[in-house]
Amino acid sequence: MDATLLAQGALNGIMLGISYALVALGLSLIFGIMRIVNFAHGEMFMLGGYITYYLFGVYGVNYFATLVIAVLIIGLLGMILEKAIFRPLTNRPEAALTSLIAAVGLAWVFQMLAMIFFGEQDKDIPTVFKGIIRFGGMMITWERFAAILIGIGLVLLLNLFLLKTKFGKAIRAVAEDKEAAALQGIQVARISSLSFGIGTGLAAAAGAIIAPIFIVSPSMGGEVILKAFLVVILGGMGSIPGAMLGGLVLGFLESYGGLFFSVPVMSVMTFTLIILILIVRPQGLLGRE
C-alpha cells in the first residue's frame, strides 16, 4: 500500500463525506426545529439530481444556474410539504409517530413518481468540469475537485447564515427552545417553514453536485438517506460540526473500506460500529444530551 493510493483514498473520502454531510445537515436542521425525521429527505436529493439531468444534461442550461434553480424548486417543495402535511401533524397527539409515517409515505410517493415520469433506467449526466488535476503522484478529476469546493462553499455559507443573519439566529433560537423563542417575538411557524426549505434545498444541492459524478436513478434517494442517517447517528442529531465530522468519517470509511474489504463485510462492520457508538454515546460523537 503506497502513499499515493492512501492520498487518493483520502480525496475520495472527502468528496463522499461532504456530499453526505450536505444531506445530513438538512436532515439535522429540520429535526432541530420541528422534531421531525424527514424520511423523504433522500428523495429531495434524488429530485435535485433529476433537475440537474434535465436542465443541464438535456437542455444545456448553465451548470451553476441549474444548481440554483434546483435548490429553489426543491426548497419551495419542502416549504409546501411542511405547510400542507408536517405542520398540521406536529400540533396533534402522537406527532412523532404520525409525522414519521407521513414522511415514509412521502418518500414512497416521490420514488414512484420518479419511476413513472423519469423511467426506471439509470441516467448519465455529461461531465461538467473536464480534465484531470495532477498533484504529486496522485490524480483527481476536476469534476470531483469542484464537487469538494462547491460542497465546502455551501457548508460555509450555511454556517455564516446560521451564525450571522437575523433569520439564522432565529432558527438557532427556535431549535434551542420553541416557547422562549416565541416569547421573544420570533414567528415559529415562519421559521420552521424556512428551515424546512433550507434543509430540502441543501439535499437538492447535494444531488446536483453528486449526480454528474455518478448516475441518477429513482432509488438513489433511498441509498443516500441511509448514509445521511448514519452521519446523523455518528455526529449527533442537530449538530452542524457533528454532521461534518460524521460525513467525513463515513466518507473515509467507505473510501478506504472499499480498498481493503468486500461490500458485505463493509456493511457488517459499519453496522457494528454504529451499534457500538449508539451504546457508548447515544447522543452521537458531538451531540449534546
Partner: protein, 317 residues
C-alpha cells in the same frame, strides 16, 4: 350478544368461501391476504408501543428462514418448525429491542432501517450453504398432517392451506386482543400516548416496550413461516426494506393501535390491489404512498374511525 352473532357470521362466511368460488386464483390471493393480515397485526403491535419498525419485514424473513431451514436442513416437521420459528424471531427481536428501544422515535427507526439492510446483506452473502445466498431457498415443502389412517391432510391443496391461514389469523387476533384488553395492553397504549407520563408513575417503559416488541415479532415470525411454506420460494430480497411499505399502508388505512385496524386495512387494500389495480404497475404503488399520507393527515385513526367521525359530525348542527 350482537357482537358474537357478527363474529359467527363472519367466520361462517370465511368457512364457506371455498364452497362458493372454485377459482384457485381467488383462494391463492385470499391465503396471501391472510398472511399479510398476520404480518400487519405484528407491525401494528409495535406501532402500538409508539414505534415504527422498518425491520418488521426482516423479522418476517427471520421467521421464514428459520422455519425453512428447520424443515429442509434439520428435517423437522412444519408443525414443530413453525412455533420454533416464531420463538426464534421473538428472541432475536428481544435482543434487538434491548439494544435499541432505549432510543426513541427517530433513532429506533434509523436502527431498524440499518438492521433490515444488515439482514439482507447477511442472508445474501453469508452461510450460502444454509440460506442459499441471493437466489434464496426453493422447493420449500408444503406442510401435511398424517395421523394413522384417520387424518390425512395435504396442505399443497390451496383450499386446505386457506383453512390453515384462516385458523391462524383468528388465533393471532384472539391473542393480540387478549393482550390489548389486559393490564399490559393498557400500559402499551399509555406508553404510546405519553411515555414520560408512564415513567413518572413508576412503570419501566423500557421493559414493556421490549415485551411489546417481542409479542409483535412472534406473529411476524408466524407470517414468515406461513409465507415460506405457502409460496415455496424465499429470497433475501423478499424481506428487504421496501417490502415493509405496503404493510405500513395496511395498518395506517385500517387504524393504528386497534387490533382490527390492520385486518380491515390489509383486506381492503389487498382486495383492491389484487382484483382491480394489478395492471397499473407503479401507479398502484404510488397510490399506496398517497393513501398513507392522506389518511395520516386527515384521518389518523384510520377507516375504522370513519363511522364514529361521521356520527359526531351528524350530531353537530
Amino acid at each position: 350478544m350482537m357482537k358474537y352473532i357478527a363474529y359467527g357470521g363472519l367466520l361462517s362466511l370465511l368457512f364457506l368461501i371455498p364452497f362458493i368460488t372454485q377459482q384457485e386464483y381467488v383462494i391463492h390471493i385470499l391465503c396471501l391476504i391472510g398472511i399479510n393480515v398476520i404480518f400487519a397485526c405484528s407491525l401494528n403491535a409495535i406501532l402500538n408501543i409508539g414505534e415504527l419498525n422498518l425491520a418488521q419485514s426482516a423479522f418476517m424473513g427471520i421467521g421464514a428462514y428459520a422455519s425453512t431451514v428447520m424443515v429442509m436442513r434439520l428435517h423437522l416437521s412444519f408443525w414443530i418448525a413453525m412455533p420454533l420459528a416464531m420463538l426464534v424471531t421473538s428472541i432475536v427481536s428481544l435482543l434487538i429491542g434491548f439494544l435499541t428501544l432505549r432510543f426513541k422515535g427517530a433513532y429506533f427507526l434509523l436502527f431498524t432501517f440499518l438492521f433490515a439492510e444488515l439482514m439482507r446483506v447477511l442472508l445474501s452473502n453469508f452461510g450460502v450453504g444454509l440460506f442459499g445466498g441471493i437466489p434464496g431457498l426453493t422447493n420449500i415443502p408444503k406442510p401435511s398432517i398424517h395421523i394413522g389412517n384417520l387424518v390425512n391432510v395435504d396442505f399443497s391443496s390451496k383450499v386446505a392451506f386457506y383453512y390453515l391461514v384462516v385458523g391462524l389469523v383468528v388465533f393471532t387476533i384472539i391473542v393480540l386482543r387478549r393482550v390489548d384488553k389486559s393490564r399490559i395492553g393498557m400500559i402499551f397504549t399509555a406508553i404510546r400516548q405519553s411515555d414520560v407520563l408512564v415513567e413518572s408513575i413508576g412503570i419501566s417503559t423500557m421493559k414493556f416496550k421490549v415485551l411489546g416488541c417481542a409479542i409483535g415479532c412472534l406473529f411476524a415470525g408466524l407470517s414468515g413461516s406461513l409465507y415460506a411454506h405457502f409460496v415455496g420460494i424465499i429470497t433475501p430480497g423478499d424481506f428487504a426494506i421496501h417490502s415493509v411499505f405496503a404493510p405500513i399502508a395496511y395498518v395506517v388505512v385500517g387504524g393504528i393501535g386497534n387490533v382490527f385496524g390492520p385486518v380491515i386495512g390489509a383486506t381492503v387494500l389487498m382486495v383492491l390491489s389484487n382484483f382491480f389495480l394489478r395492471q397499473f404497475g407503479f401507479f398502484e404503488l404510488l397510490l399506496y404512498g398517497i393513501i398513507i399520507v392522506l389518511i395520516i393527515r386527515f384521518m389518523p385513526e384510520g377507516i375504522i374511525s370513519a363511522p364514529r367521525l361521521l356520527f359526531s359530525r351528524m350530531r353537530k348542527p
